[in-house]
Symmetry: C2
Amino acid sequence: MKKYLKHDEWCIIEEGFKPELNRVSESIFSIGNGRMGQRANFEENYTGDTLQGSYVAGVYYPDKTKVGWWKNGYPEYFAKVLNATNWIGIDVEISNTSLDLAKCKVKKFRRVLNMKEGYLERSFEATMKDGKKLKIKATRFCSIVEDEVGAIKYSITPINFSGAISVTPYLNGDVRNEDANWDEDGSFWTPIDTKVKRRQAYVLTETKKTNYQVATGMKFGIHKNNQELVFKSSKIKTGLFVGSAVAIPVKKGDRIDVYKYAAVLSSENHEKEDLLEECAARVKAAYQTGFDTLLKNQKIAWGKKWEDSDITIEGDIEAQQGIRFNIFHLNQTFTGVDARLNIGPKGFTGEKYGGSTYWDTEAYCLPFYLSTADQKVARNLLIYRYKHLQKAIENAGKLGFKDGAALYPMVTMNGEECHNEWEITFEEIHRNGAIAYAIYDYINYTDDKDYLIDYGLEVLIAIARFWSQRVHFSNLKGQYVMHGVTGPNEYDNNVNNNWYTNYIAVWCMRYAATALSYVKENDAKKYAKLAKRIKFNELEELENWANICDNMFFPEDKELGVFLQADGFLDKELRPASSIPKEETPIHENWSWDRILRSCFIKQADVLQGLYFFEDHFDVPTIERNFQFYEPMTVHESSLSPCIHVILAAKIGNYDKAYEMYLRTSRLDLDDYNNDTDDGLHITSMAGTWLSVVKGMGGMRVKNGALHFNPFLPEKWNAIGFKIQFRGSTIQVKMNKTGTTLQNLSTQPVTVYLNDIPQQIPARKAILVEV
Amino acid sequence: MKKYLKHDEWCIIEEGFKPELNRVSESIFSIGNGRMGQRANFEENYTGDTLQGSYVAGVYYPDKTKVGWWKNGYPEYFAKVLNATNWIGIDVEISNTSLDLAKCKVKKFRRVLNMKEGYLERSFEATMKDGKKLKIKATRFCSIVEDEVGAIKYSITPINFSGAISVTPYLNGDVRNEDANWDEDGSFWTPIDTKVKRRQAYVLTETKKTNYQVATGMKFGIHKNNQELVFKSSKIKTGLFVGSAVAIPVKKGDRIDVYKYAAVLSSENHEKEDLLEECAARVKAAYQTGFDTLLKNQKIAWGKKWEDSDITIEGDIEAQQGIRFNIFHLNQTFTGVDARLNIGPKGFTGEKYGGSTYWDTEAYCLPFYLSTADQKVARNLLIYRYKHLQKAIENAGKLGFKDGAALYPMVTMNGEECHNEWEITFEEIHRNGAIAYAIYDYINYTDDKDYLIDYGLEVLIAIARFWSQRVHFSNLKGQYVMHGVTGPNEYDNNVNNNWYTNYIAVWCMRYAATALSYVKENDAKKYAKLAKRIKFNELEELENWANICDNMFFPEDKELGVFLQADGFLDKELRPASSIPKEETPIHENWSWDRILRSCFIKQADVLQGLYFFEDHFDVPTIERNFQFYEPMTVHESSLSPCIHVILAAKIGNYDKAYEMYLRTSRLDLDDYNNDTDDGLHITSMAGTWLSVVKGMGGMRVKNGALHFNPFLPEKWNAIGFKIQFRGSTIQVKMNKTGTTLQNLSTQPVTVYLNDIPQQIPARKAILVEV
């Protein structure tokens, strides 16, 4: 837990240079545009502690799997997010001494992430060893308009000396990952080509094994006191380090502005042979457009993003800053323009975990993009999984499943499994359910039923087939059971009959059958074609699914009126998480693994995750009983835990608990709650914060094609505002002490339910419903 | 499965050179003496496929733990058995060409392991590229009389040429392990010193991190046609390769005998500064004694070993060879003279697994040494664990146990845990029970109750304390339960209430209490001292144990009349192992891990292991019902499985099953049953074969201080004979078609029970009880 950042509605502000927190700040102040991303490393040389990170979407290396003891079925590799060519570098030298914040006196250091306009600014005054003082201001951004372009304005002012300043804008392809399993000592790139011109440079490198090529280019100009400078430069080319050194004579008080324009292109988006050429074209175009215009366009584009996705919280600036920080990073990570991309757990802010896709995407992130972006964005997230269906079928095949059954991977980059703990890889199979649920969620929200016909049904059948093979009939119980699974609560491994998994499995089979009826009825031809292609034996398979669904075992305790997390749960020693001594928390850092497993303590919503997904299947007292039973045993040691509890607590009217839970999620990274922000942000859990506000405090649901709100306003706050895109309409919701205002920003009337009462809102009108 | 070795009562014989089986033969023909061991690598240069292995007891390297995902509580290192300085090497050169079986025509290749006399012999004729033919015969052994000494006689006869033969006896300390986790690329030794003289050489190396020093020395002599040769030599010293090259003029038909004497000394047994000197002294003494005398002494010593431990099987030469092979290797691996040593799963035959001690020692090996060797040998195996008690207490402490509770490691070299799979390391805790059981077993066999006073009780209390903390009270059941364990059947992980573990836990607490009464009664002073030292709160702790024992939950099914392997076992799909398609066996190679876990299939005796240990607690029908229930589901994919089933099948009179199971154990390595003998032999399971014959077919038990036999003779065999050391008496048992002969070889009368009828056998007399 750290509290070193200034509170501001729209900006993240760090004041004073704190080398010991540099990695944390590098994560927090990261910039990105869905296609590329950059940690807040310094432009100038820095010999202090830093995690260098420049990432290119979709480019990875299959690092050799690292396990102690091989288990049959483990994947061969682990997809690693790669640190790519450094495009931000600008070395500064004065009297042959490199400007290096680790070796200067630093004053007035200030780092600002302007979330409203989408850029990073850093300024400071440095006193060199020899007493020379200079002032630096650096501004940079990854353009969300031209998503292969980044731009930097780096301003240098000598405060107390005249003489020469040497600046060297450069690219450096000789980069490593800090962490690597086995291979290559973290060096995952092969050099292909480099070029240097007077004010341009290019690096073309290729990933080992996967053979992605990435071209990085830069062009720069220099202004002195706002006048373009004509300069000579010395070209530098050492291995994959390419740049131009320019010596600039300066007088005290002069201002040197270095404008550096960079482009990062990958062979995922261009023919390899065109890469350098295309890269040069983008670099030159950016140079011609100029920094100010690029930045202006950036501000306009971010303005539009905020227009769609902003949440306002009045009366609590910390909360306001927290929620915007989360929305900002979600929008930086995934823009939805490319169905090959997904939402990595660290986004573009670190190299940890590797792989880009977890069930987080479907369970936590999808609703954010559904409500705040064009429908295509969410649809692309579904298409991503559709494209991986054959790999998921192969994956299930490796585990002994057949006849087109699909098991989606726990972690993946390209559809292949990358995780290697048996209790997760083979057993945390509820992820398959989340992928089916996302299809339901998308269609429920958008009414885009055509998606079922063209893509959804095929995925749903493959998933239903998996479940139908994964259960088995217990002669003892006379019911179907599911053994050897790990639920969302990873603090209870390899259990039998995890209620959540059993429930979602049955739901999947039923939903697949419903979807099938719909498709058959609405496009019999396409259905017939699909059925033939996937060898679907309709009669037999449907009967089998129905039989399983009708005879599935669900662990529950009738007396307590609760569903049981798994067989034997009530045999555990049940006690509240509050009974754990403070010095033993978080338990995952302080207790041995077996002790955690044996305990009743819950890492994140498990039974409650099911009640969240399938809220309408249960009455409020049932939800309440389960919440009261499980929440006290929940340690929330997953960043994905609190948000679900906010929503359910709000549902059952436990607003204090909802607010308490909200406080644990909104500033997780900003305050480095778990002391692990140094290696990257928790991008997917940021969506959970959004969910907390909109589904929790706003009580937003979609039922029978209509938007519902059941708002509550935390006492400490004056007002909450957010905007929802829904089937072509835009609804602005404002909740304050007086009541709730629903504003229809669209050109058509819309009916919205407020506390279950329908409200007709004419086009461009608002209604206020008082408390 | 391979069947390439000749059948012989006393020898293992390979005929014909089979490079593709070389690693398998290198394992099978290994020699050792409990202090050092050597795979059957060739003396001369060999560029073909080989696993070089020369091992020194107690010398290991703590290789960095390799895990995919760290779990709290994992050990930091994995103790690795080290390949040490090569002392067997003798290079042979003719016309500057190295003799290398990978590059010659090889005829009449023959490898013989003479188990009766304890040496390895190899002979062949080689035709070099240039047509020169020569005959080689090499004999070598690790002395069991001087256990730091090895000797080689290497005879060379030029068949079709005269000229010069160059021989270079050498030592080479520049050796690696084939397999290493992370560190050092398999190179675990630091050079300390080397010396070369005309006919001597020395290498002193030190292990990295653990800093064991090993001195290896050699001295050689050469005879030509039985005459000692005076020779000049060229000393060679390249890094850690030291030797002397001798050019010998030869005529066709001459015989050159190279006698090489080596000594291997470790700093475990000598002061570091004396190592080289002591090594030289041993080398010289061996040289002076001479090969023939050393070999004669070896034969005498092995004669004595066989005298004590031989088993004869008449009418089945394969079975005879198999059982002797197992006994031979057990005696090569552990001699019991040093309580710091133990029985590694691969002995001195390979580097796989690392660590030396598993629960195999207590559960499977102890009875062999109890019955065939001096009582001290078995006692030293117990003392080994006594010495590790503090480490076991620390180990339990790491997992959150306190107040002197001990958890012995799953795998260890020095008392510290070396294994790193959570479901094993933290959960396969029944090993603790086996360590207590061994104390019981030893005392039951030997009547050495003093052991309890001086060592046993302290270990038993620490183990009982562990169990008392590891269980918890289930409010649901109103009984104590034990969650999150893995039983001996590792194909069912992280289960609740594994019957075997619950049973042995309760037994441990009860036995500790009984032992405590005994010690208190018989040596109140020592008891009081111990109780004070370990802060034993007698009243409270004993009451707690008794309470747990009286209220422990044991899963069972009354209707079926069987104990349940664990909670939920009957929920599994129960089907016999015979229903698994042949091409899918062994399942651990063909099924994904989760599928194995969900299945009912059992790797090795689990409930049945308990019925074996505690046979007298159950009536025969109970044992029979459980055997009939579990054995059909058992896949015996652990080499430790069949032996327990032989014994129980014999117990319930299912002799066909007993014999069927016996066939799966006795020639496991000789016939390379599981295709994994290439990287070493399954030493600990060899004890299981001995158990199968003596406790299975012989029906040997010790009850109330008396030996019992309940023999059965497999139909295919004519006779079985074995000898048992028991409390100062030696009993020779012979079972044939006529009946059972019990011969008392001791100078005192002894009462032995045959089929529960007491038989008084006078000193030096035999009785025959007809069938």
